[in-house]
């Protein structure tokens, strides 16, 4: 493999930015945001340079690596701090640094009134560095470093306004649930080491060829747990909604475009494991399908614009995971949807931020309405993203989602029909709730108070939105044309990538038609329900039980609280009491016994010489009795 010495700059630049901004403290307040943006942008530049270098090399030499130093070396457990840039990573690198830079630019303006803007940019840079390490690491353990690094950055950013207790709790919740996922990754690495003897991607890939299916299934399932934690997949999805506590650019970058898709990256990266472990694959598909619907249903019930988008993110990642679980046929499409989703969802989040910016940070869509006139640029960019996500041709989402639906139907047999129907159903619901968002926010009559003055955002904010909307318009076609992305990624998936299922259940055109019909149904329902009828400024309470449950995020928090949190708290209290009373009590009991024995025996020490004499006499009796017995 070609080695390079320049990969580290991708990570080092934003890391340098983060450390400088954190260590310099308030001194850097004036120029901190500029340095942060510059570091992100230069990392993007390095990424583009690497892409150009890569394009100039023949296909089989495109992957390059860099070994920095030997990180851990204990007997057979050897891990290098090594980086690997291949066709898969470069997609992520460009997505992370590109979208990241745009969001840096957006944040300069969005956070301009926050006195801790420097710190915000430091966190953003830290995130970029960690995320790049995640996608560039050449072994599961280096990936793990980035994996937890983005978790940390996410924690810091969600809790950026942690003076509000609810936000602080949200950040803690995100970190802890991510840790549950990380545990899965730990298990996966441990099993990999115990069974395959290595943890590097290349090593595992090589060893997996002769490995038993049981071991690979175990690794696969554990990797899925990790992916579920990071990508908010069922059953570890509950943190994502709360994570919207962070500033909106954070939601756009971390909780829409990049970090939450790390799970998909992990699954696609581990394709050699899943390919050999059908059971694990099946579970991946199931998880993806459940999350797809789960997120979509929650999305229909949310009045908070960011939470609606977050639910949509969850659902869209469900699509990706489902597709990635379909094996070689799906990897490229999962990545394609990931990339297009990165564009349009980031753009929509930024649009939501722009709306909030104009609406005094209100997030309640029922208090919006008619903003089309006041925020034309936001409306257009958001609208383009909307068209992309519901999958209207020729926007990006159409191509990527269409391919996923098609792959799902092609999975074969009953499974294929079921999965295809689910993805279609998801498309209906997606179209419905996204249309709802559009109508509530932009096209319906205004419902906001008179003292609010909606206005378009400044240039630094709408510029990134425009760039992203261009991406959400064009990227789909770009990737789709001549299977550009699929061919590009093929070397990563080895030989598997080529043998597509040639037997189609439906012709592609039929699938597209079905998908478009689904979209039309969803949009139609939404228009009937919201555009053509009165919208109440306060969410109606006399609604069906289903709506109520959906509003409560399908009871995910109640479930977690009653199954994990409460019993956990009870156990903690029990153990604290037990430690005090039983364990330490035993120790103190010994002490008390000694004291008690002393107190009892002390009574014999009355101080009366006569009682001592009596004791001596008793002693003498015992002695003489002894003699008497012995001489018997």
């Amino acid at each position: 493999m070609v080695t390079s010495s320049s990969l580290i700059y991708l990570i080092a630049l934003p890391l340098f930015g983060a450390l400088t901004l954190l260590l310099a403290g308030r001194r850097a307040d004036k120029w901190g945001h500029l340095l942060g943006t510059a570091m992100s942008a230069s990392s993007f530049g390095v990424g583009l340079y690497q892409l150009s270098q890569m394009l100039s090399r023949p296909t089989e030499e495109r992957a390059i690596s860099q070994k920095l130093f030997t990180w851990i070396d204990v007997a057979s457990f050897q891990v290098d701090a090594g980086l690997l840039l291949d066709q898969l990573s470069i997609c992520f690198v460009l997505l992370i640094t590109g979208v990241g830079t745009l969001i840096h630019i957006y944040s300069i303006s969005y956070m301009s009134h926050d006195e801790n803007r420097r710190r915000f940019f430091a966190y953003l840079n830290l995130f970029i560095a960690a995320m790049l390490l995640l996608v560039l690491g050449d072994s599961y353990l280096t990936l793990y470093v980035g994996w937890e690094g983005v978790g940390l950055a996410s924690y810091l950013l969600i809790g950026f306004w942690n003076q509000k207790p609810a936000y602080a709790t949200a950040s803690k919740k995100a970190f802890v649930m991510n840790r549950v996922g990380d545990m899965g990754l730990s298990f996966a690495i441990m099993i990999a080491f115990a069974t395959l003897g290595t943890v590097s991607f290349a090593g595992v890939k090589e060893a997996s060829e002769g490995a038993s299916e049981t071991a690979l299934t175990a690794i696969g399932i554990m990797l899925l747990v990790a992916a579920a934690g990071k990508s908010a997949q069922f059953p570890l999805q509950a943190w994502l909604g709360d994570a919207m506590a962070g500033p909106t650019p954070v939601s756009a970058l971390i909780h829409a475009a990049t970090m939450v898709t790390a799970g998909v990256y992990l699954i696609v990266r581990s394709n050699f494991i899943f390919d050999a472990a059908p059971t694990a694959q099946l579970i991946v598909v199931i998880v993806g399908a459940i999350t797809l619907l789960f997120g979509a249903v929650i999305g229909t019930a949310k009045d908070d614009i960011k939470k609606a988008l977050a639910a949509s993110t969850m659902s869209q990642i469900g699509y990706m995971v489902l597709c990635a679980g379909l094996g070689p046929a799906g990897y490229a499409f999962a990545i394609m949807h990931l990339l297009t989703h990165g564009f349009f969802k980031a753009g929509m989040f930024l649009g939501a931020g722009s709306v909030m910016h104009g609406m005094n940070d209100s997030v309640d869509m029922r208090r919006y309405g008619g903003l089309r006139k006041f925020m034309p640029i936001t409306f257009i960019t958001f609208g383009l993203g909307y068209l992309a996500i519901i999958g209207v041709p020729p926007f990006a989402g159409f191509y990527s989602k269409d391919l996923i639906i098609e792959t799902a139907f092609n999975a074969g047999g009953f499974k294929g029909i079921l999965l295809g129907s689910i993805t279609l159903l998801g498309a209906v619901i997606t179209a419905f709730y996204m249309t709802r968002v559009m109508i509530l926010t932009f096209t319906s009559p205004k419902r906001w108070e008179e003292n609010q003055h909606p206005h378009e955002s400044p240039f630094l904010m709408w510029f990134p939105m425009v760039v992203l909307s261009i991406g959400s318009v064009t990227s789909g076609l770009l990737f789709y044309r001549g299977d550009a992305l699929a061919n590009w990624l093929n070397p990563v998936f080895g030989d598997h990538g080529k043998d597509h299922h040639e037997e189609h259940l439906f012709e592609p055109i039929v699938v597209s038609a079905m998908a478009l019909t689904a979209v039309a149904i969803g949009v139609g329902i939404a228009i009937m329900k919201y555009q053509l009828s009165e919208i109440e400024a306060v969410a109606p309470q006399n609604v069906s039980i289903f709506t109520r449950i959906a509003r409560k995020d399908l009871l995910q928090d109640s479930f977690n609280e009653s199954v994990f949190m409460r019993p956990g708290q009870a156990l903690t209290r029990l153990l604290v009491k037990g430690d005090e009373n039983v364990v330490d009590g035993a120790v103190r009991g010994i002490g008390r016994t000694a004291l008690g024995a002393g107190a009892t025996l002390r009574r014999s020490q009355s101080g009366f010489a006569r009682s001592y004499a009596a004791l001596i006499l008793i002693g003498a009796v015992v002695l003489i009795a002894g003699i008497w017995v012995v001489t018997l």
Binding site: Q605, S606, G607, F608, A609, R610, A613, A614, L617
Partner: protein
């Protein structure tokens, strides 16, 4: 008669002396009971001396007497000292060991 009979008497006297030490409260009486026990012991020594046909027992008894005399002298002095400070010859009153 049997010379062992003296031993029985000595044993009884010793036992009675021991009871006296425990049940009597007057320090002087207690002291006298101790003397009684010593005398009982001496009697056994003399008796054994006779049984064994050597004089070692008597020598030991002699030493015991001298030691007993010393003990009486010091002991009574202590009783006097205590009596002077406490105006009591009851040994129960001298129970400072308790504290």
């Amino acid at each position: 008669m049997n010379p062992y009979n003296y031993l029985y008497v000595a044993g009884l006297l010793f036992t009675i002396g021991a009871i006296g030490v425990i049940v009597r409260r007057n320090a002087i009486v207690v002291f006298m009971c101790i003397e009684l026990m010593l005398n009982a012991a001496n009697l056994t020594l003399v008796t054994f001396s006779r049984i064994n046909g050597t004089l070692e027992g008597q020598v030991t008894a002699f030493f015991t007497m001298v030691v007993a005399a010393c003990e009486v002298v010091v002991g009574l002095a202590i009783i006097i000292a205590i009596y002077r400070s406490r105006r009591s010859a009851s040994i129960d009153d001298a129970s400072l060991l308790k504290r």
